[in-house]
């Protein structure tokens, strides 16, 4: 493969493009509503109408507005048919010919679509994820060519540093810094791992990216491998995402066949192989040291850091671990320049963030917005507010490691620092909207149950602490707890947070702490009077953090 070959594939692909394109969403959400049947019937209807020369029926990835699926978009007319069934196919073809139609349509000019800025999702819902030619036609693999053939690894590193990209997995560690550490670490063998173990309940961004544009992730990984000097990569993906796994396998096979992965990429001496590792349903494997243990075929338990994976990771070799969305940002940054990327977003949070908008909201689906967009713009303008006239009460970000942001703080801009100040985190991008029917103590209990089940059991604060906290939350919900139990809960939160081994335990108390911070009354309303207090025999309160830490 040479640049010339890339250009030829692109030219051929563009020349073969037909006048009208019907894009059918073939991501997991719409597939569960018979999107496959819709596509087949559309193909049949096109053939019946004898329009094969003019109309292309293209299966694409996620078209973002999941609640209205299956979606079919007609180009260039710009119509977006919603909730399509296989029986609607002939009517859609008739509509293409200008006939009036009564089919349900979504408005592509609605704020849900117009307020988005697609970098990671640029190809999502546009190209066929199962054809490498489609990705190449969208300028795919050009950044890899430029990196490998025209640039030194340090130039690539420099571009990522200047772009200000930060890890999209949740913690927001500067990506350039991480790459630099791996590049500097001595060692003949290095690894690149893509963390696609999207375990946060309520998050489906990584699934959508893998299903809709797998080559973008592969290209990002290959560029990263070149920059840090690795020749082997792994994608660790959840077993719950069979479609994403299948599309990744297809993409890797195609890229290898085209000489874009494997040995001698672009006829250079650079080699890079990618293997898929399928997870087996353990949330803790999203933690990088646990993930590496799992890639090695062991129980997914974390280990203390340092040494950080960048120095000693997989099989004790320097290892770069980034999230799916982080890798998907890499090729656009190199293609369009670090300065372009650094010009988007806020001072400390650059670029865009993909969110999975779900819960009690009108428009559920996938959105990508510039960093710094106010939460209100996301949930009210784009999301359309709570359904059935309900009132938004809180927005949950960061899954079981995050917190609930109450309605009065909806004007907060979405960036790493602002969300942390409010006791939540950016997280990987799950955004669950809760309305006034949601009980916050119940939400806290739900997340604590999750952490309790998912605790790997290696360290005691997390293993025993989550069980005790869950027990106390159950007790509060059963209206059997007293003021002392609440104090005990807060004390436990503090202890688990400061003494757990890995991120799972350290962040497990966050949902409790953030609901206590903003919705304390809901807890207190459930409390019972303390019998000791009534009798005037108050035993000492549990120790607070000040007394036993430092």
């Amino acid at each position: 493969m040479t640049l010339n070959d890339l250009e030829q594939i692109k030219a051929k692909e563009l020349a073969a493009r037909k006048k009208i394109v019907l894009r059918c969403c073939m991501a997991a959400g719409c597939m569960s509503s018979d999107a496959k049947g819709v596509k087949e019937q559309l193909e049949k209807a096109v053939a019946d109408a004898g329009l094969q020369e003019e109309v292309e029926v293209r299966g694409v990835g996620c078209m973002k507005l999941c609640c209205e699926g299956p979606l079919v978009a007609a180009e260039p007319a710009g119509t977006l048919f919603a909730k399509v069934t296989a029986a609607n196919a002939p009517e859609i073809i008739a509509a293409l010919r200008g006939c009036q139609t009564t089919l349900a349509q979504a408005d592509p000019r609605a704020p849900f679509f117009t307020r988005q800025l697609a970098i990671v999702l640029a190809n999502c819902g546009v190209i066929d994820p199962e054809r490498i030619e489609a990705y190449i036609a969208a300028d795919g693999y050009q950044a890899l060519y430029e990196a490998i053939v025209e640039k030194e690894p340090k130039d690539v590193l420099d571009a990522i540093v200047r772009s200000g990209l930060r890890g999209r997995g949740g913690a927001g560690f500067p990506t350039g810094l991480k790459w630099g550490t791996v590049a500097k670490s001595p060692g003949a063998k290095k690894y690149v791992i893509c963390n696609a173990d999207e375990g946060d309940p309520g998050a489906f961004m990584d699934r959508s990216v893998l299903e809709s544009d797998p080559h973008a992730v592969l290209e990002g990984m290959a560029i990263a491998a070149y920059a840090v000097g690795a020749d082997q990569g792994f994608i660790y993906v959840r077993a719950e995402y069979p479609l994403a796994i299948a599309r990744l396998q297809t993409a890797i096979r195609q890229a290898k066949a085209a000489g874009l992965l494997g040995s001698g990429i672009f006829e250079s001496p650079i080699n890079f192989n990618i293997d898929i590792r399928i997870g087996a349903g353990a949330f803790v494997c999203g933690e990088e040291t646990a993930l590496m243990a799992s890639v090695e075929g062991k129980r997914g338990t974390p280990r203390p850091r340092p040494p950080f994976p960048a120095e000693r990771g997989l099989w004790d070799c320097p290892t770069l671990i980034n999230n799916v969305e982080t890798f998907a940002n890499v090729a656009p940054i190199l293609r369009r320049g670090a300065d372009w990327f650094a010009g988007i977003g806020t001072e400390k949070s650059k670029g865009t963030k993909v969110f999975a908008l779900a819960g009690k909201i009108q428009n559920t689906g996938l959105i990508e917005v510039p960093m710094g967009t106010p939460l209100r713009a996301i949930v009210e303008d784009m999301g359309g507010g709570a359904p059935d006239g309900g009132k938004i009460k809180a927005v949950q970000t960061g899954g079981p490691s995050g917190g609930c942001i109450p309605a009065q703080h909806l004007d907060t801009p979405v960036d790493y620092e602002s969300l942390t100040t409010l006791g939540s985190i950016m997280g990987s991008g799950g955004m669950i909207v809760m309305d006034d029917t949601t009980r916050m103590v119940d939400v806290a209990r739900f997340f604590m149950e999750f952490c309790m089940d998912e605790s790997c059991g290696k360290c005691i604060p997390c293993r025993a602490g989550t069980v005790q906290m869950h027990h106390l939350l159950e007790k509060i919900l059963a209206r059997q707890a007293t003021r002392r139990d609440l104090a005990r809960l807060e004390e436990l939160c503090d202890m688990v947070r400061h003494t757990s081994l890995c991120g799972l335990g350290q962040t497990a108390p966050n949902p409790v702490l953030s609901t206590l911070r903003f919705f304390r009354r809901e807890y207190e309303e459930l409390l019972q009077p303390d019998p000791h207090e009534a009798h005037g025999t108050v035993p000492p309160m549990p120790m607070t953090r000040a007394a036993h830490v430092r």
Binding site: P201, A280, E296, G297, E454
Partner: protein
């Protein structure tokens, strides 16, 4: 535990040879293990394949895998029990997975689960006594846009209600 006591080497080989001769699924598993060149880091991939072939991982399968990979049986058992995806008990004829991810939860997945538990008479994680239906919960299947979602025999079904879930179970559980 029976799994951890190792029979003498020659007896083990004879036993596994006999097992493989009786059940050709062991042959398929062996071919798969060869594909991974008996590498220890492929253990999880191999257990995935074994579960796909056998439906669940019983002691024979775990011991066979350990023997093939030259790993201690305790290591294989440890991995198989660590991950939720692997099951050491046989599954029912039909499989019902209720997603309890946050999005599904705030949209009433707990009510769907309660209805399903009542209809089947078993709790999540169990199989009905007649072996018809296995009931499982999931931590998020990533179908949050169409919550609450239930997976019936591998088919993700959107926007479930207690009524629609029970209707599906009724189809399965008819005598």
């Amino acid at each position: 535990m029976a799994l951890l006591t190792a029979p003498s080497k020659s007896r083990t080989v004879a036993r596994f040879a006999e097992q493989a001769a009786r059940d050709k699924r062991f042959k398929i598993l062996e071919a798969h293990i060869k594909k991974f060149q008996h590498r220890h880091d492929a253990l999880i991939e191999i257990l995935h394949k074994a579960q796909e072939l056998f439906g669940y991982l019983d002691n024979d399968v775990l011991r066979y895998t350990a023997w093939q990979l030259k790993l201690p049986a305790s290591r294989v058992y440890g991995v198989a029990t660590f991950y939720h995806f692997f099951t050491l008990k046989p599954k029912g004829e039909h499989n019902c997975v209720v997603c309890l991810g946050t999005a599904c939860y705030v949209r009433g997945a707990n009510r769907v689960l309660a209805a399903v538990e009542e209809r089947t008479g078993v709790k999540a994680g169990a199989t009905t006594p007649d072996n018809k239906v296995s009931l499982v919960t999931a931590r998020c299947i990533g179908a949050c846009g169409i919550a609450p979602a239930v997976v019936y025999d591998g088919t993700v079904t959107p926007r479930q209600t207690p009524e629609s879930a029970v209707a599906q179970l009724n189809q399965w559980m008819q005598p």
